[in-house]
């Protein structure tokens, strides 16, 4: 059992938890992820490592409620436990493998969308700790959906916030901010790291390709084991098929086949929709899903 030592709602439907997992805390690096299981009948849910405290032996996760599993997870409180908490999985971010001195000469831009702000944060923080200020663009649907603003402000060089509806700071998509910075303000970045919804990463990559700005993305395909055993997480990168859980999750965004990746992510949508129904309707759920036998 892995105890939740801290749990809070960051904003509507986005939750942060610190979980006691000493082995993971000891060996994890920015860019990696964990898989958590709620209870006996739960799914294996992959979540990016957002922060860690090696001394306290805790790992921070931030998640958005999407379907049945994440909605149930959201109900967990401080003092509750996850049945399983496996990791760290995947490769550490390429940035931290690079030589610090050569990194210091680079101008780095992070682009975070929605809950993707959470996985961007540890990388920005890691750079700050190593004396490097990176620029960060954070995009959110609306002001209420913005997370980790204070934390990010401390860690980032310049922080640009934009909301789709203009309810806070800039108005518009993250791509418009990139255009503004690179084309209008003439800032020359050496590399971009974009993490967020698949569709955002796709459009960021289309733009940065035009701008000739190398871009790394962190993919979140459907996963089961997270150790390379099932192939559920396969994605096409260039002309190769990669397993995101072991070869990634970070890849060269200009080579990723986003259209295929987005289609694959939808694979269980209808199935899972039924799960949500079951959850919302509780005991009054009366079948039609073909699973519970209620219709018979």
């Amino acid at each position: 059992m892995f105890e939740i030592v801290n749990a809070r709602e960051l904003t509507n439907n986005i939750y942060l938890m610190d979980v006691k997992a000493p082995r993971v805390a000891k060996s994890c690096e920015p860019g990696q992820f964990v898989i958590v299981i709620m209870d006996e009948t739960g799914e294996r849910v992959p979540l990016t490592i957002c922060d860690y405290d090696r001394k306290a032996g805790t790992v921070t996760i931030v998640f958005q409620t999407i379907g049945a599993s994440t909605q149930m997870m959201a109900k967990l409180k401080k003092g509750d436990s996850f049945k399983d908490f496996v990791g760290p999985l995947g490769c550490a971010s390429e940035l931290i493998e690079e030589d610090i001195e050569s990194l210091k000469n680079k101008k780095i831009l992070f682009v975070a969308g929605g809950v993707g702000t959470a996985p961007v944060y540890p990388q920005v923080k890691w750079l700050k700790e190593h004396g490097i200020d990176a620029d960060v663009i954070v995009g959110a649907k609306t002001k209420d959906m913005l997370i980790l603003e204070d934390e990010m402000r401390k860690a980032a060089g310049n922080l640009y916030i934009t909301t789709d509806d203009g309810s806070y700071e800039r108005k518009g998509m993250v791509t418009e901010v990139i255009k503004d910075l690179v084309q209008n303000q003439g800032i020359k970045y050496d590399c971009c790291i974009a993490i967020g919804p698949m569709i955002m990463m796709k459009f960021v990559c289309l733009l940065t390709k035009e701008l000739d700005l190398p871009t790394i993305v962190s993919l979140n395909p459907i996963m089961v084991d997270g150790t390379g055993m099932c192939g559920a997480c396969r994605v096409t990168v260039g002309d190769e098929v990669k397993f995101a859980c072991v070869d990634g999750p970070e890849f060269d965004g200009h080579l990723v086949n986003f259209d295929e990746a987005m289609k694959r992510q939808q694979m269980y949508k209808s199935e899972e929709g039924r799960e949500i129904l079951k959850l919302q309707e509780g005991d009054t759920h009366h079948g039609g899903c073909g699973h519970c036998g209620g219709e018979k």
């Binding site: 799914e43 055993m229 192939g231 694979m267």
Partner: protein, 462 residues
Amino acid sequence: MVIVSKKVPVREQDPKVRATNFDEVCLGYSKEEAMQEAERCLNCKNPKCVSGCPVSIDIPGFIQEVKNGNIEQASKIIGEASALPAVCGRVCPQESQCEGKCIVGIKNEPVSIGKLERFVADWARENNIKPERPAKTNGHKVAVIGSGPSGLTCAGDLAKMGYEVTIFEALHEPGGVLVYGIPEFRLPKAGVVAPEIDNVKALGVEIETDVVIGKSITIDELLEEEGFEAVFIGSGAGLPMFMGIPGENANGVFSANEYLTRNNLMKAFDSKYATPIITGKKVAVVGGGNVAMDAARTALRLGAEVHVVYRRSESELPARVEEVHHAKEEGVIFDLLTNPVEILVDDNGWVKGMKCIRMELGEPDESGRRRPVEIAGSEFELELDTVIMSLGTSPNPLISSTTKGLDVNKRKCIIADETLGKTSKEGVYAGGDAVTGAATVILAMGAGRAGAKGIHEFLSSK
């Protein structure tokens, strides 16, 4: 003495009924049936059957005890050589091992060694016969990576010798392929696998799940920081292969590992569990091994029409004869001498069919099997909504790539010696599918046993 020419038949669930449930297909012998079958054994002075068993169970020895109705004694005899008899009795390819060598089998059906072993093991479990925990440990710590048959056997053997053993398992349940791969209807998890794992724990073995060696901690750290004096690697051959044909990343194409894991480990067939699975109405399983049969029979039970697509002919099917027979009885359709060339995809990215080509058998290849060759112009389309690729697996490089000085061969298998499991790195032993590539439960157990012997020799000479 006149030998009854046929095995005492074993009771099975009716094919029509079992094709709709996940309960075990084979119901096993009763005590009377087992004693009757035991009568067919000649108690050979030079028992050929034993030479066919990779762990050399004293087969005539335990069968004589069954003949006398002394099942507890029979279970002790099996227990000396095998830690997982209820599993092996169910899944060993007996026709090519023990039973394949049985003298009775020359003129008649061989003695039903597997079913007898299974009966004894089930009886022992039902009657709560448990292995005894050694009185005290010798204070030496050994780490075992992976809780499949090789790891469990190695850990059990070492614990019996007095070692303090911890198994590290990447998944959330111990058991390896026994839990995530082989389906419930062939190997019940709660009824058979879990108690066998409990027996290993009863010997004092600790199992720590959710630890991915190479990620959570490395072998070098286990040896240098956590006080383990030796390590056994039994990490299996879990990486699925794909064909590399167009359309393979479409929605509705799965590896057999994913399909089986969702069902077995994650229990997607049980509505209490949150795991989703695509059941499909018409499913093709590509491949012809045990894994393909398991995937096919699982899809069938989830309600699909299932085709096994295999490029050679029936006599080359690598699966156990019993599994092929069961699959046919249940209604799996075999499209033999057929090879996929492309998966056809609809506008939404979902599988809508598979383009195949007919094959014929040509000259034998290096393996001695006749090589399948394409028949020009024989392409045709199968209409489908799900494809399950079951083309074999290779070892996971997670461990070899993070352990200094551990040599692998060109197939990524860890190089280890057969009799003692010794690898190129001092104190590190290995066995099972991680060394041989995908093989069998009993070979993995034999390798676990060899590794335990190797580790014992190494630590006692230190």
